[in-house]
Structures are given as structure tokens and as C-alpha cells.
Subunit: 328 residues, 2 copies
Amino acid sequence: MEKPYVVGIDIGGTNSVYGVVDARGTILYGGSIKTGKYADINDYVRELSAGLKQVIDQAGGPEKIKGIGVGAPNGNFFNGCIEFAPNLPWKGKIPLAQLISESVHNIPVALTNDANAAAIGEMTYGAARGMKDFIEITLGTGVGSGIVIGGNLVYGHDGFAGELGHVTVRRNNGRLCGCGRSGCLEAYCSATGVARTAREYLSIRSEDSVLRNLDPDEITSKDVFDAAMKNDKIALDIFEATGTMLGEAFTNFVAFSSPEAIILFGGLTKAGDLLMNPIKRAMDKNMLKVFEGKTKVIFSQLKESDAAVLGASALGWEVKEQDPNLVL
Amino acid sequence: MEKPYVVGIDIGGTNSVYGVVDARGTILYGGSIKTGKYADINDYVRELSAGLKQVIDQAGGPEKIKGIGVGAPNGNFFNGCIEFAPNLPWKGKIPLAQLISESVHNIPVALTNDANAAAIGEMTYGAARGMKDFIEITLGTGVGSGIVIGGNLVYGHDGFAGELGHVTVRRNNGRLCGCGRSGCLEAYCSATGVARTAREYLSIRSEDSVLRNLDPDEITSKDVFDAAMKNDKIALDIFEATGTMLGEAFTNFVAFSSPEAIILFGGLTKAGDLLMNPIKRAMDKNMLKVFEGKTKVIFSQLKESDAAVLGASALGWEVKEQDPNLVL
């Protein structure tokens, strides 16, 4: 009998969420652990594996599981490693697919970029159904991307293509980014980037703002959103600037792969039109004539809590037991 | 009997070069006309067709020709049109594949971007043999690009992907570009961009320079190269700045598709190390850690005079007589 389930694991800077998924994309059993709590990768794998074994048992045991798919920052599809992920506690090159497989009944494990996993999920269940050329942009703690061209995810020659959060958008005096470089899109347009913009505006500008009632170091993108909803001028300007920078960057992405759509995913998309309107204005203003009005910008149609796990799980259907690239 | 030849046509802002090509990539008969001389597209097609018919007759007549491939700025592979090409005399949307086919014995015609044609040529005969992921950058009158991912040219959803000469590299006070926008890579790093940088440096800076002996409006990238070969400080600085901007832009391209190589093609590559050294320095300095040292930058191995025609001609082997997308 064909094994009826896969497991998806989404590893974020804050949480690692996992679930057992059936062929129709229903998450049957799930759980999560705090990524940041485990400075040692072995402690992390031990705790994660315990949780995985529990949900796998609930689903009927390892013989029911076809494969495990992992979406992780800087995840390399070709060798199953997380490599130099700036937002995770573990430095260097971590053979995570191998470590998980060894700890969880030797079930085969495939691993990719978390944003690539989201793009696969979008293509299978979401706004990109039927599309062959689109870019998924994830706006969370960081900014990630999954690029689909001609119906295939772009991995590049080394498995790491699609790091659009780290295109340089400010050459001079750019903000320091978690990656160690300066001026990356992620340093401005992630949830943490929005909070940084808030601190910057509050210190540079003199207008009144409800954000001044908060400890600057504790301000989150959610606080900025709440303030904008109250028509707070500084908060509105922050989203205007964030959306404008995204839209400007998107015009460059369109010049590269001319996608049918750019799909926005992740916590920051809760800002809705506050973000979407300046994105569209900036794209209309900056687009090369030949691309004008051709690329849609839309929000993901995946429920955020499930999308990353579903996307990662989709890899589990395709993983091969004997693939030497996937188990080192 | 299988038709033994194809025709390749390379349309540039200055010259349109064509040739009859055999299956081994030898140009048997060829010719050229001045693109800029024909403000009316019908005059251009009449003159071009006369030349094409002549070389086709030399090759034994139309029954020997399998197809005609055209490389043209802003050429759309999907519909055979040149659309809004800023460096050509004809405005709007020109159904060139159809016009040529109608004028030249109804031989089927396929058309693409001139830079895409160069990339196809590089993959078939040049430095990209055996590569599945590379970017061809053409440094001529303008800056163009042909992107290959997984062994396939990237056309995008509309046929126009790969306009990397028009990514915005300077957001503020950027140079006006031929496309009507400001701050494009092409405005700085094309042959004309190099000449503009020369005029800029000569007016801003006060040092002596052999370039001051020339009429500023007549300075070409060749003049700057010749001056740099004489160790002229301003000329050396111009190539340093040009290469640095290219290298900075390339780091962003790598973040997109993580190619095995970026291959430089076109007249400006005659500058050799003057251009290559600052490109490599800028890439080493700016590259995201995960991509460090992975992407080669190399010069094309195609003879420049033949490459564009050979690349375009490769399309001629694939064109289908009845393809409704190629003959409107």
C-alpha cells in the first residue's frame, strides 16, 4: 500500500512548526517547538524528533509516512544542509536532513529554503494554482523568496537561488543586515525592518505619535500597524516607505524573470492596503515600459499558520529513499 | 532531404548583420545594413530582405533554408514582435518576424531578444557549453542579458524576461536612460555609459588627462580604453567605477538565480582586466556569504562578429512552419 501521509516541518527564527499531512493537504496532527531555545543543534534535533515521533505515532507509525519535507532559512535542497543561516542559532553548515532522518526512524528527508517551501505550497493549494511564472515573497522576521520559472522552482547551480531579501537596495549608508552586509531589502521591509524604521522616524522626526508612548526598543510591526489604523501620521509614513521600497525592488525582479504575479506571504501582509497601495504606486512609477501593468501583486491565499508546513510537506511526497543528494 | 541551412539576423542599434549558417555553425554567406538609416520599418524590411534573398540565393535558394532566427532588442519570442525598443528607430510594436517572412519566400521566422540569442550561441558554441545555469551579459551600445536556468532560456510569462540592463542601480539622481527612466545599469555600464562617465569626470575633476584633447561630445569607450592603456588616471578610474557598478549589480543577480557563471559579451569586454578586476573585487566585497566564491565571471568565447548571428541562427533550426505564435 502506498504510504498515505507526509510530514512537513517549517523552521523559523522563532518557532519550528510541524505536522502530519494527508494527500489532500489536511494537517492531521501537529506541534511546535521554540527554535531559539536550542543553541546546540543536537538538543534541537532531539526535542524536534521527540515531537515528530509523537505525531507520527498518532498517525499510525512510521510505516504510514512517505517522507519528511523541511522548509528552513538557507536550506539547500541539493545536500539537505542549512548553511550559514543568519537568523538561526546554529552557525556554519548543518546537515539537518540527515540528522532528522537518523533520529526519526530513518524516514527520508528533503529540505529547502522556507520561502521555496511556501512557493510550493502556493502553487499546490494557493493563489499560484495554474501559474508557471511567479515569485513568492515572504515578509516575516526576515524577507525570503521562492522563484518559480516555467513551473519549476529555481534552485540555481548550488541550491540557494532566490535570496531576494538580500538584494542590496541602498548602496550608501544602508542599514546593517543580519547577514553582515548593509542595505539589504530585508533590513527595511521585514517585520523587524518596519520596527527599525519606526525607531528611526521617532528619533529623527518631531511630530506627535502614539508610538511615542511605547518603549522604542520594544516596538513591533504590529504596534506600527495598530498606530496606522488610528491614522497616526508617522505610522502611515512607515508603511508608505516600506511599501515603496518593496515596489521599487519588485520592478527590478520583474526585469529579471517577468513573472505573471508577485505573491506576498507572511505576517507583514496583515497590513493589507497600507502595504499594497504604495507597492503598486512604486511599481507603476518605476516599471520599464515593456512590463507596465503586466505583473499582478497579490496576497497569498494560504492560511499563514498552515502554509509553511503544507509547503514543506509537499517536498515529502517527492523525496526518494535512496537519493544520495538528500541523505549525505 | 532535410534543409541544410538556417539564417541568423542580429539587429543592433547601429548595424543589422545576417548570415546563412550550416549545421556545424559556420557562416557561409553574410552581409549587413545600417539599422539607423531606416526611420520607416518598411524601408528597413525591404533593404534587409534584398540582402537576405541574395545570400539565400548564394546558398542554393529558399528550399535550402530551414528557418530564419532573429535577435533584436526587445524582441518577443512569443509573438515575433519588437516591442518598444528604446535603441531602435521604430516606435511601438513591430511584427518583424511576420514582415520578414512575408518578404523572404515565406520562410518561417523566429525572433528573440538579441541578448537571448547571444546566450543561445554561448550555450551551443561558446563558454557556456555544458552549463545549465548562467547569465549572459551583453555590454554594447546598451546592456542586455540572456538568462539560462536549468538549461532553458528564461522568457517570463510575456516573453520579455531578462532586461538586466534596466535594473535600477541608482535610486536617487540616477542618470537618464534611453528607456525614459533613471538610474538603469545600462546608463552607466554600456559603451555609451562609459563615454558619459568620461564626460562627467572631465567636467567635475581637474586633473590632467589625455581625454581632454578630445571633443567631449565625441569621446567613445574606445577613447577611454586607449587612454587607460596609457595609464591615464581618469580613464583608469572610469573603468574602475564601471566594473564596480557591474560587480555590485551582479551580486544582486546571483541572489536571484545563483548561476554557475556570468558571461560577459560585447564590445566593452575588449577592456579585459580593466573591467574584470573591479567586477571581481566588487563581487567579493558585496556577495552574500552563502554565495561567496561560487559564481565565475568570464568573458565570452564567441568571436564577437559571429556570435550574435550564430545565436540568432540557432533559433532558425527550431522554428515551426505552422506555429501561430511565430507568424501572427
